[in-house]
Amino acid sequence: MSLANEKSTKNNTLVEVRNLKQYFPVSYGLFSKKYIKAIDDVSFNIKRGETLGLVGESGCGKTTTGRSILRLYEPTGGRIIYDGVDITKVDMKPYRKKMQIVFQDPYASLDPRMTVGDIIGEPIDINKLAGSKKERTYMILEMLNRVGLNSEHANRYPHEFSGGQRQRIGIARALAVNPEFIVCDEPISALDVSIQAQIVNMFEELQEKMGLTYLFIAHDISVVEHISNRIGVMYLGKLVELADSHELVFHNVHPYTRSLISAVPIPDPASSRKRKRIVLEGDVPSPLNPPSGCRFCTRCPYADERCKTEEPKLTEISNGHYAACHHLDKVQGN
């Protein structure tokens, strides 16, 4: 059963992405216009209350996907359906309260000229959530407390804080509108290892407390596996595999997923030595000129003629586990 045709149960599915396409024009000369096909026909659902992880390497389109769902980029094609409503072309203002984003770079995502209090207060002001100045201050303080900061931080400027603290401020800002859905765009990649765990735990706690739904985009698979219920793997603008986290890590079927997982260094010397590493040859092709047929055919050990001409469709191979490959039987056999 193809994912795109699955009926979305209004109660359970919060975000639905259907045949999403995001092409960025890159013009060469006066007449030729080339496109970077950042996302090329991607479909998936996110259930209410779950964390869907999205992994992949550079050029795969995962960050673009997160931002396109929030209409920070206007999709070139396809549809985005939020809570049963097609929001692909509507005015996003009312939805900004429900869908928020936390960014990767805690140094760049906070306006250096605004105090922390004002940064968190901005969404409150824009959406007119506070009736009085007192109420506004109260709401700001509540957000600060929720992320482990306190009132004395409200009058300071972002540059006075460490990376982890700035990320907390960014999270507090996203929470200020009391959203339902948050796109976490590589929220811990720029943080020190010892701080990452703090922030990951905070994400989990907030999800429990506030009933949030996450799209967790990251390139660190260990973290994604830890925090996500399900994981989707993207390669060069396509979704190649989608399954429950545990299933994806231990029972993956797509050759790319397989090599991706095996490439992740494990912080355990004994396991590392035992491990069978599948090292891919070559580099990721340029998204300006993706291979025809299956995007992965240039690096895939199982690629044949069919792979070079025919694009495999994302099909369900077992309950909730989807993969796009012509040679699933061969791979599964290994």
Binding site: R67, R96, D105, S109, L110, D111, M114, P123, I126
Partner: protein
């Protein structure tokens, strides 16, 4: 595991090995003193001796231009019979008579001109005019330029292209020509307005020439500021906090005002400060040509122009306004440079 025991030194106290409590730990973690962008910038500015000296000079000139004339015993249009063409600190015969009779006569520090007007007060009032023109013109340029530049830079694409082509065209217009044309064409309608409508009487005092200058500044001179602001906005709008603001639902005007322009303030201040001497110079030069303020209102430029005739006998009449113009322009330039060094974000580590 072989535990090689290190000999313990005498200074250790067994009680030291008790667990530390939270308070003791926190006392080790002190957050540094809050430093805002302004404090940091001004601290750097204070270290720049040249800039601070220029600031002092500007303040002195401003005091003598705006405050001292109210207390000065002479006024700029006052023509004192018998005191024509006095030299520096010279008294006319009539004044010497008055001193002899016990009256206190304030000296003409720089002498008088051919109509008996005290030169010192005229220079001070002239400085006031020059400074006012400089500041008001720069303010006009700032407002128009930043609005135009930020809109062009923010929206980009076709909007940007059209707006900047307009800027390119305006750049090619010869400004002096326009000023002359304007002052000629506006002369009669403005005079009618000034004579007939009470509210516009000030037009006569200020002078048609000056008004033409302001009109031209508003029409033409803002383009430099627009380009600079556009450049800043282009750079800043790619910053992630702008995307974040969009994600929060901020409107375009809010983003431009609160995020883009606020973060450009350093550049705006510096550019405006450097625009002031340029405006002053333009006004002085125009007044020198007779296209600026109208008599009897003095301007440093017109004073210089009037002094040309008697340059060999009364050189101080040219030197004084020239030196003052130079001082004003130099000080603003040095201050502007100092401000740029102090507030340039790239110099921040």
């Amino acid at each position: 595991m072989d535990n090689k025991k290190k000999p313990l030194s005498f200074h250790l106290d067994v009680s030291d090995f008790l667990p530390a409590d939270e308070r003791e730990k926190q006392s080790m973690v002190v957050m540094r003193e809050s430093v805002s962008f302004w404090k940091d910038g001004f601290r750097r500015l204070r270290k720049n001796k040249l800039a601070m000296a220029s600031l002092v000079v500007i303040i002195i000139i401003m005091i003598s231009a705006f405050i001292v004339p109210s207390f000065y015993p002479y006024s700029y249009e006052q023509q004192i019979r018998g005191s024509e063409n006095l030299g520096i600190m010279e008294y006319s015969d009539a004044e010497i008579e008055r001193i002899k009779s016990g009256e206190e006569v304030f000296p003409h520090i720089l002498g008088t001109d051919s109509l008996g007007r005290d030169l010192m007060i005229r220079i001070m009032v002239g400085s006031k005019i020059s400074l006012l023109v400089g500041i008001v013109a720069s303010a006009i340029i700032l407002v128009i330029g930043s609005a135009y530049g930020s809109i062009a830079g923010y929206f980009g694409g076709k909007v940007d292209m059209i707006m900047m082509r307009a800027v390119d065209i305006i750049y090619t217009v010869p400004d002096i020509l326009i000023i002359i044309l304007l002052s000629v064409t506006l002369k009669f309608p403005l005079k009618e307005l000034a004579d007939n409508v009470k509210a516009f009487a000030w037009i006569n005092t200020v002078g048609i020439g000056l008004i033409s200058i302001f009109v031209v500044f508003s029409l033409l001179y803002w383009v430099g500021m627009a380009r600079i602001v556009r450049g800043q906005v282009l750079m800043l709008k790619e910053q992630e906090y702008v995307v974040a603001a969009k994600a929060l639902g901020a409107s375009d005007s809010r983003i431009i005002k609160k995020h883009l322009l606020t973060n450009s303030i350093g550049t705006l201040i510096v550019t405006t400060t450097l625009q002031i001497p340029s405006s002053i110079f333009t006004e002085s030069f125009l007044s020198f040509l007779g296209l600026g303020v109208s008599a009897p209102m003095p301007s440093l430029g017109s004073l210089a122009s009037q002094a040309i005739g008697g340059i060999s006998s009364y050189p101080h009449r040219l030197m004084a306004p020239a030196i003052v113009i130079s001082l004003i322009i130099l000080s603003f330039n040095l201050l502007g440079d100092g401000l740029r060094d102090a507030f340039d974000p790239r110099l921040k580590n």
